[in-house]
């Protein structure tokens, strides 16, 4: 109980601090959304539009930051994230809900996949040291050192084209409306293959390595020797004894990376023009769209915290030692 209470206090505090930072940091950016919009359309939007845009966005150029801060919290508690500037007058919440599913689908699934594959390979590499799995490490390390965007661009160059199976970008076939049907889903899958592969290739090595190291460390524990001495089948020793225990320290890392789904890989979304939230953030940055930036940061912060909470809970389930009485 005490443990949980402490965690909750920690989460509340962290959330408050992070949201406060999220509020202030974008405001420090010079320039304003109207200027950003004008510059975005170099010459295509005439400068006469400036005044009407200020009015439209409701930007008070001499606003008081503190009262804005208080208002921001009031809005937050009312569940209102404000209106986006770049997509004026779409509410931020709508922009977010439009894009978050894409990100969750692509990066979320990939992160989980990467964790599963990486952990699996790591278990193999750690258990069978000296076999072919040893060769995985240098290769994956190399790929993980390549920037995501570079890998993505190369992949687009090499693998896409008029006749290629891989589309060069986008979330699904043009014109398909997101729906759980036989048209949209396969198309969405097809479009997510390359970006997913890019993320997978560059993130899997971290999991392989940490799992391998944990496996190696755990493998020399006495209880593994005992398991062998007990004559248990090798599979059982490797999975139920070694891998099960080796997994524990990785759970928190996994939770953390789940939290960073949104923030960590937005370049992939940019490169593949994937309509996800990371890409949205990039646009918001370019457009000085504070409400949207704050909204996205809020989502990221909350997802990191939720992921951490999940890790805490997972620990309770996975490691009986944390499940102390009381």
């Amino acid at each position: 109980m005490k443990f949980l209470l402490q965690r909750v206090a920690f989460y509340v505090f962290t959330a408050w601090a992070a949201i406060t930072l999220n509020f202030f940091i974008p405001r420090l950016i010079p320039g304003d959304p109207v200027q950003a919009l004008i510059t975005k359309y170099q010459g295509q939007l005439s400068t006469q539009a400036i005044e009407s845009l200020y009015v439209l966005f409701g930007i008070d150029k001499n606003g008081n930051v503190w009262s804005e801060y208080v208002d921001y919290w009031k809005q937050l508690f009312a569940g209102d994230l404000g209106l986006s500037f770049a997509f004026f007058p779409t509410p931020v919440s709508e922009v977010l809900s439009d894009s978050i599913l894409w990100t969750l689908m692509l990066v979320g699934v990939t992160t989980i996949l990467s964790f599963i594959i990486g952990t699996g390979l790591g278990v193999l590499a750690g258990w069978r040291r000296g076999s072919w799995t040893d060769g995985l490490l240098p290769v994956t390390t190399f790929f993980s050192s390549v920037p995501y965007f570079w890998l993505g661009i190369i992949a687009i160059y090499l693998l896409t084209g008029p006749d290629s199976f891989f589309p060069s970008g986008g979330g699904a076939e043009v014109g398909l409306v997101p729906a759980w049907d036989m048209y949209f889903i396969p198309s969405a899958l097809q479009h997510s293959l390359l970006p997913a592969l890019t993320i997978l290739i560059s993130s899997v090595s971290g999991w392989i390595l940490s799992m391998r190291n944990m496996m190696v460390t755990v493998s020399s524990e006495d209880y593994i020797t005992v398991a062998h001495a007990k004559g248990l089948p090798e599979r059982r020793v490797a999975l139920s004894y070694a891998a099960r225990n080796a997994l524990l320290p990785n759970v928190s890392g996994f939770a953390l990376s789940l939290g960073f789904i949104v923030g960590g890989t937005f370049l992939v979304e940019i490169v593949f023009s994937y309509p996800g939230i990371g890409f949205q953030l990039f646009q918001a940055l370019g457009a000085n769209d504070y409400p949207l930036m704050q909204g996205i940061f809020l989502v990221i912060t909350i997802s990191v915290l939720v992921a951490n909470l999940l890790a805490d809970v997972a620990y309770l389930f996975l490691d009986p030692r944390t499940r102390k009485e009381g």
Partner: protein
């Protein structure tokens, strides 16, 4: 459930390709949210241009021929008074809204009143000084507080007319996203999604012949590179995007069908020089700089040989669109790189070229900082070339790449040496010269000048000439005023014109033919321009 899915039909179409009769249009404008409000600059309808397929203007303006009168569209007659303060319109019979209701003069009055009366002018994005707007039968009369000579195309050609019976019930037209747009145009919105927006042609009720293109598919790509990839692969058939080395990256992918057309318009890009900084307050120095800039290099290397058509006339007016406005004095006078001439000019003005270093009258070496945001690679390339050019006359230039926000702020506040930037564009050269030289727009150094005159060019003469031009009631006054402006522009070189904007397109003739071209520039090529509807209506299936 599958059979009811809107995707069932779309997917079929995608598979059938050409037979389905759709046209894919792409813009590199990154993610969009559903917003079909034609008045809002940030709506997806505006960003991608499909607002002009749903809503129509009173008349159509051909950007490539800015001096021509507007083509009657929803108004069958457009008559401006001599002082350009009154316009008389006759609203076309037979036009209907896509919900079947007829389009009347009431709708036109409603639309312009809506703009005029919008709270704090939120919808009046062109800042038009409306006065009276009245209807009489199928006639509409609008009066303005000042001459609309330089902005008439915006009032008539760039204001979409919306149905009164629907819009009068909208609480706040400035923030409504108009989920089901009803317009008078030949297309209606079919589906909207992140991955693409589909418009289908109306079956009936359009006041002209219905388009051959039965479906328009708009996609917003994340950026130039993705848009280009889509163009090259044929996924996109029509777009407006900067294509480096378009011959190789686009045309060569399908030489028979892939086409680029880039007509210049009356809006230019050039190097703004901060005229308050010594020694650049000296027009002679600026002139000399103007003489060494290699516009051809910039055109071919920075603008891929098409995107910002090279400005040849010393008046800074683009070829084609600007031809009609060039003062007699400057007819035929074109830029050419003249390093020796520049040197002579400088020597005459008291500068000394010592080796590779130009010294000003005080003996200080002449150096200049050229700035532009990093992501604008064409400007960056331009600056690199300019830097190289300037070194020929001993001016040491340094290229800086602040981020966009910083650049914006600095340019507005006059905290820069020289920068590549654009001017406003319009139906006359007025916008160009105004952005560069209007004293009314000038703000002291340190205060943001948002509308123009970033270089703080002080010339009461030019300011007066600009006023005279826009308020003139006769052609002769205009001509004189324009000649004055050109003379100042040429002699004082407050900004060194480099290239013009274009309203062209990259398109494919594989499925559709009938595109505008140099030979027949009946409409702007850019799919987001109001005139894009004229293009769509002209398209015919390829044989």
């Amino acid at each position: 459930a599958c059979s009811e899915s809107p995707n069932a039909a779309n997917k079929d179409n995608a598979a059938n390709g050409k037979a389905a009769g759709f046209l894919s249009i792409g813009m590199p404008n990154s993610t969009q949210t559903e917003n079909n409000n034609p008045f809002i600059g940030s709506s997806s309808a505006t960003n991608l241009g499909y607002r002009w397929m749903i809503y129509e203007p009173l008349g159509q303006w051909n950007n490539t021929k800015p001096d021509q009168p507007l083509k009657p569209w929803l108004a069958s007659e457009i008559k401006w008074s001599a002082d350009w303060k009154t316009v008389d319109l006759v609203i076309r019979d037979g036009a209907t809204w896509s919900d079947g209701k007829p389009l009347t003069a009431e709708d036109v009055v409603f639309t312009h009143t809506l703009i005029r009366d919008s709270k704090d002018g939120a919808l009046n994005s062109y800042a038009i000084p409306y006065d009276q707007i009245t209807a009489d039968g199928n006639k509409v009369k609008m009066t303005f507080k000042s001459s609309q000579f330089t902005t008439h195309h915006k009032v008539i050609g760039q204001t979409p007319i919306v149905p009164k019976h629907l819009w009068s019930t909208i609480a706040d037209p400035a923030t409504d996203t108009i989920k089901t747009p009803v317009g008078s145009g030949p297309f209606t919105l079919k589906t909207w999604s992140q991955t693409g927006i589909i418009l289908e042609a109306r079956e009936s009720g359009y006041w002209q012949e219905l388009p051959k293109v039965k479906e328009l598919r708009y996609t917003s790509y994340s950026g130039n590179d993705t848009q280009l990839t889509a163009l090259a692969s044929g996924q996109s058939e029509w777009s407006f995007v900067f294509i480096p080395d378009y011959q190789q990256t686009f045309i060569a992918k399908d030489p028979a069908n892939h086409k680029i057309w880039a007509p210049g318009v009356l809006g230019i890009h050039g190097l703004y020089i901060n005229t308050t900084k010594k020694p650049f307050d000296d027009p002679k120095l600026r002139q000399a700089m103007n003489m060494v800039i290699n516009r051809t290099d910039i055109f071919t290397q920075a603008e891929a040989g098409y995107f910002h058509p090279e400005i040849k006339s010393v008046t800074g007016l683009p070829e084609g669109a600007g031809d009609a406005y060039i003062a007699d004095e400057y007819k035929g006078k074109t830029f050419s790189v003249d390093v020796e001439g520049a040197k002579t000019l400088l020597a005459g003005a008291g500068y000394k070229l010592e080796g590779t270093v130009l010294k000003d009258k005080t003996g200080a070496p002449v150096t200049i900082k050229l700035t532009d945001p990093a992501p604008w690679s064409d400007y960056q390339t331009t600056l690199e070339i300019i830097k190289d050019n300037l070194s020929k006359i001993g001016i040491a230039a340094e290229v800086e790449k602040p981020n966009q926000n910083v650049w914006d702020t600095n340019v507005q506040k006059g905290d820069f040496g020289a920068t590549m930037r654009w001017t406003n564009g319009g139906s006359t050269p007025f916008d160009i010269y105004q952005t560069v030289m209007d004293g009314d727009l000038m703000k002291p150094i340190g205060t943001a000048a948002q509308q123009g005159n970033f270089g703080r060019f002080e010339s009461p003469e030019a300011t007066a000439a600009l006023k005279a031009y826009s308020n003139a009631t006769d052609e002769a006054t205009r001509k004189t005023a324009l000649a004055t402006l050109q003379k100042i522009f040429v002699e004082q070189a407050p900004m060194l014109p480099i290239g013009s904007d274009n309203v062209g397109a990259a398109y494919s003739t594989k499925k559709w033919v009938g595109w505008p071209s140099d030979a027949d520039s009946f409409a702007p090529g850019q799919p987001t321009q109001a005139g894009a509807l004229m293009v769509v209506l002209a398209l015919k299936p390829a044989a």
